[in-house]
């Protein structure tokens, strides 16, 4: 029963919802039923078919339309008196500045990526508006409350960045299916169908670098008048046959590993392919979106795991169909999980590579999930989380600080609970975001350039995308529309200089200030010069420290904050962590999904870079894994023991 006090607070509240997807739809509906009158929603996405299993405000007829707008219209149908303002826009757009945020009593997030969450967190801190965060994946979910000065901010406990794999693992020594997918998607598919001018690590460098690179260029380009079938086989033989033989010849690499087996098309498919397909009904559809190698070959079920032979046939057929039906797109294509033919090609290629390396093959359904970084999601968890968000929002409006809770929706009953509330923690005094604590950066100031600092630290680690970098009163770098040519040139030149050679030299002991005007964030960084860095452990040649990290994970178990609110699109690899063995649980159980619990293995994905000994230099450039997903959030269950032992609770 809602008290008078609560009712008044609700009626007078102005609420901002960020995200109108899985959580957003449930949240908007519950807010409306609870009596909220004034809501703004921001969402940049449009509606897709796969949303309809849970984003119940949307219908088939709405596919392609703005989520924010359709959600608004749907709710106005059963609460016509409400004021709902829909923004079909990116929350990172400068128009949503601190002034904009200040007009709200509370901000409710229903996002699916880390970047946006950090951004909103900073704006809420700058505007001093409470934030209720949330995330779900499958049956797991959580709701957390962040009030400046009273609780941790979203970034007090650093969230792990999306998973990446070392280049050598992808190009030379895959050990898991996901490595094969990344190879097939980011290397092979990109090479064949994407921008030819893009740098591509596809070929393992042999000891004879010059000749092999010439060879490589010829191989991938289809020769004038070359028939598609021989071209397809030529590609097949090069990447699955020749390249593997070359890689296999290096003794060092395979000393402690099983050698891959080269696979040649003639061995797998001795007959002429066109004869093979002669009797199978062909897909004669002109519409490019429904062109499918599977349909062409009569392989109907996306849940079936293809054999090496089937994968090989799909590989060649898909390649053929791209050239036959979608030639215009070749050279401009990027992988899209909703592009059936692209998914078929990548699955097939990944499977053949897997076969080569003794890794088990996967179905299209599974491969698509990995390649497309798909987050699995159901309506019920989102509904539960939405209810919990509204409960917290009301507490926040009433400033009932003692009652704020972080609530975890568990998949398995733990201590007799399916919904577990925990008191929020106090702010982390060393959080560089909400406590403005300086950070330290160890870097070689005579070797690292300003550009490295900007890309690897400022943008990648600190999440500051439009930085202003100062050394005392000297501006070293900034971005903005209002810069003149001289300034732009000046900053461009600075980027290419090593730190110690900057107009205002950055050396040991220097304090740099990095700001983001939109987020109203200021961060001070103490520079410490260091000569050498471990190529394996510190491949960037830099070490940032300063805010208290969570205790390091023991073995494979992750500490609470690692798992907490990962909810971040690109992290589906981490999403399905195996639960820690020592957590107290009743009826310990894994999740319901069947061995697409193969996804669990992704989380163990080796971070340790493996030496590519065929290459004289140790190259540890990381291949960025998978794109952000448009889908819903991922959340981790936490280790209860670490949770109860943890830091001070909110009084």
């Amino acid at each position: 029963m809602v008290s008078e006090r609560q009712l008044e607070a609700i009626k007078g509240a102005k609420v901002l919802m960020v995200g109108a997807g899985g959580i957003g739809c449930e949240l908007l509906k519950t807010l409306a039923l609870s009596g909220f009158q004034d809501i703004h929603i921001i969402d940049m996405d449009t509606i897709e078919v796969s949303n309809l299993n849970r984003q119940f405000l949307f219908r088939q007829s709405h596919v392609g339309q703005s989520k924010a707008k359709v959600a608004r219209d749907a709710v106005l149908k059963f609460r016509p008196q409400m004021s709902i303002t829909a923004h079909h826009a990116n929350v990172k757009d400068p128009k949503f500045n601190v002034e904009f945020f200040k007009q709200f009593n509370v901000v409710l997030n229903g996002l699916d990526n880390l970047d946006a969450r950090r951004h909103v967190n900073r704006l809420c801190l700058a505007a001093d508006v409470p934030l209720v965060e949330s995330g779900t994946t499958g049956f797991l979910g959580q709701v957390t409350v962040h009030v400046k000065g009273k609780t941790e901010c979203y970034e007090c406990q650093p969230k792990p960045a999306p998973k990446t794999y070392p280049v050598c693992t992808i190009t030379s020594t895959p050990s898991k299916f996901v490595h094969c997918i990344v190879w097939a998607k980011d290397l092979l598919f990109a090479k064949l169908f994407g921008d030819r001018n893009q740098e591509n690590d596809l070929n393992v460098r042999s000891s004879d670098a010059a000749s092999s690179s010439d060879h490589a260029e010829d191989v991938f380009v289809r020769r004038k008048d070359e028939d598609i079938d021989p071209y397809g086989r030529r590609i097949y033989d090069h990447v699955f046959g020749y390249n593997i033989e070359v890689a296999s010849s290096n003794e060092e690499t395979w000393k402690n590993r099983n050698r891959p087996k080269p696979i040649y098309s003639a061995d797998v498919m001795p007959e002429n392919l066109t004869e093979q397909n002669g009797n199978v009904a062909k897909n004669c559809v002109v519409d490019t979106s429904s062109v499918s190698a599977m349909a062409s070959l009569g392989l109907k079920n996306p849940q079936d795991t293809w054999t090496l032979l089937e994968s090989s046939r799909i590989f060649l057929e898909a390649l053929k169909l791209f050239f036959a039906k979608r030639e215009k797109e070749i050279g401009n294509l990027s992988f899209d999980k909703d592009d059936q033919l692209a998914v078929e090609f990548v699955t097939a290629a990944a499977n053949i590579r897997a076969a080569s390396f003794g890794i088990s093959l996967h179905s299209l359904f599974e491969a698509k999930g990995i390649a497309g970084n798909i987050v699995h999601a159901v309506a019920t968890t989102n509904a539960i989380i939405a209810g919990l968000i509204v409960i917290e929002a009301i507490k926040v409006l009433l400033k009932d600080t003692d009652k704020y809770r972080m609530t975890y929706c568990l998949e398995h009953i733990t201590k007799k609970m399916l919904l577990m509330p925990v008191e929020p923690y106090e702010p982390n005094k060393s959080c560089y975001v909400c406590s403005e604590t300086p950070l330290s950066l160890e870097i070689n100031t005579s070797r690292s350039k300003l550009r490295d600092f900007v890309e690897k630290i400022v943008k990648a680690k600190l999440g500051i995308n439009f930085p202003l970098i100062m050394h005392g009163s000297n501006l070293l770098y900034e971005v903005g529309d209002d810069l003149d040519e001289v300034e732009v040139a000046n900053y461009a030149a600075n980027l290419e200089k090593v730190l110690s050679q900057l107009p205002s030299p950055v050396t040991n002991g220097t304090m740099l200030t990095v700001e983001d005007l939109q987020q109203e964030l200021t961060c001070n960084i103490n520079i410490k010069h260091r000569e050498e860095f471990d190529e394996e452990k510190e491949p960037d040649g830099m070490l940032l420290s300063g805010w208290t990290q969570a205790p390091p994970a023991k073995d494979d178990k992750q500490s609470m904050n690692d798992k907490q609110s990962i909810g971040n699109g690109g992290d589906s690899s981490n999403a399905l962590q195996t639960e820690p063995a020592d957590a107290v649980k009743d009826g310990e159980m894994e999740e319901i999904s069947e061995p697409s619990g193969k996804k669990r293995k992704l989380s163990e994905g080796s971070k340790a870079s493996i030496l590519d000994a065929t290459d004289g230099t140790r190259n540890h450039k990381e291949v960025e894994k998978l794109d952000d997903d448009d889908d819903d959030d991922v959340v981790m269950f936490d280790d209860l023991d670490s949770m109860t032992n943890k830091k001070k609770r909110l009084q």
């Binding site: 029963m1 809602v2 449930e26 509906k29 519950t30 409306a32 039923l33 609870s34 078919v49 796969s50 299993n53 849970r54 119940f56 219908r59 149908k77 059963f78 609460r79 016509p80 499958g138 049956f139 109907k300 996306p302 849940q303 999930g369 798909i374 987050v375 699995h376 999601a377 159901v378 309506a379 019920t380 968890t381 509904a383 539960i384 939405a386 209810g387 919990l388 509204v390 809770r405 929706c409 398995h412 009953i413 007799k416 609970m417 399916l418 919904l419 509330p421 195996t578 009826g587 310990e588 159980m589 894994e590 999740e591 319901i592 999904s593 069947e594 697409s596 619990g597 889908d631 819903d632």
Partner: protein
């Protein structure tokens, strides 16, 4: 839905949830038939969830006319007399639910629940009752249990900002994942009557107070011939008296069931929408587990209270007794 394979349409629509529970479970869902009685806010949430999940059919029973109270916590009912006028709650909800998933058959059944016989219940795989007297709950549960086919039985009720779910899956075989292995398990559930007959002293000391409070209210409404929820602050003294008697009969200290909790539940006549969402969500998950036979279902009571924010499972069963 014919045939064994999921259609292309289903695969596309259900992709994200198939990744959670698998194609096999999705197929079972598409063949299941659900009966729901008593359409308040929580049940509306449950219906939305189960329709989105893609069950075979959903049958609604609630012959009450639409009132302001009905649409205040039920988003399936638009607050427009032109739309709901002359229709029962079930009829209006049916129209809305059909929209959420054209592949699910949603229909209305009229009549008195308790007068329907076993043959009627035999059509369903799951029966969910809400806003029913304790006698009706027992009666329907028994009818379900008498059938040769297993009909899963649930009750769900929300008062003020609390909710309760009861689960009876009789003899339930299911699979669960342990590390990389799939294990086959089994659970025995007591009937509703058996469960509420378990002496209060047999329950753990820290068992949810809501359990006891709701049993007191149930008994009170039954004894006074009231419909569920037909209770007001004027009844408080009588309720507290009954509480004392029940506690004595169960050799339990009367303070074990707090007066303030009872008062709160009596005064709070309306459902609280966030609680409807939470409890309706949990119920949805449980029914999906029961139908798919995947994952360990809760046994046998679930409680949620906004005051402490916990979602608690209580096992109210007599361990020595073998249920049917």
């Amino acid at each position: 839905m014919d045939g064994e394979e999921l259609t292309e349409q289903e695969t596309a629509l259900y992709d994200r949830q198939i990744r959670v529970w698998g194609a096999d479970a999705q197929r079972r869902l598409s063949k299941s038939h659900i009966l729901v009685c008593g359409m308040k806010g929580t049940v509306a949430e449950f219906c939305k969830n189960i329709v989105l999940a893609g069950v075979g059919s959903l049958t609604l029973m609630d012959d009450r006319v639409v009132t302001e109270e009905a649409w205040s916590a039920n988003f399936l009912i638009p607050p427009d007399e032109n739309v709901y006028g002359g229709k029962t709650i079930a009829e209006v909800c049916c129209d809305s639910l059909k929209d959420f998933n054209p592949m699910v058959r949603v229909s209305v059944e009229k009549g008195d629940l308790s007068s329907l016989d076993g043959e009627f219940y035999d059509k369903f795989d799951v029966v969910v009752v809400s806003c029913c007297s304790v006698t009706t709950k027992k009666l329907i549960n028994e009818k379900c249990r008498k059938l040769s086919k297993r009909v899963a039985f649930y009750t769900v009720d929300c008062r003020d900002s609390c909710g309760e779910i009861f689960v009876d899956l009789q003899n339930h075989k299911y699979s669960k994942q342990k590390i990389e292995e799939t294990i086959e398990c089994q659970l025995q559930y007591p009937s509703f009557e058996e469960a509420i007959s378990v002496p209060w002293r047999a329950l753990p000391r820290k068992a949810s107070k809501l359990y006891f409070a709701l049993r007191v209210l149930e008994q009170f409404e039954e004894a006074e011939g009231r419909s569920p929820g037909e209770i007001s602050i004027a009844d408080l003294p009588a309720v507290l008296k009954l509480k004392k008697e029940l506690c004595e009969a169960n050799a339990l200290n009367a303070s074990h069931v707090t007066d303030s909790l009872l008062e709160r539940l009596i005064i709070g006549t309306r459902e609280f929408p966030p609680v409807c969402a939470v409890v309706g969500g949990i119920l949805g998950q449980e029914v999906i587990k029961a139908i798919s036979c995947k994952g360990e279902p809760l046994k046998n009571f679930f409680f949620f209270d906004v005051m402490d924010g916990k979602g608690v499972v209580e096992d109210v069963s007599n361990p020595k007794k073998e249920s049917k």
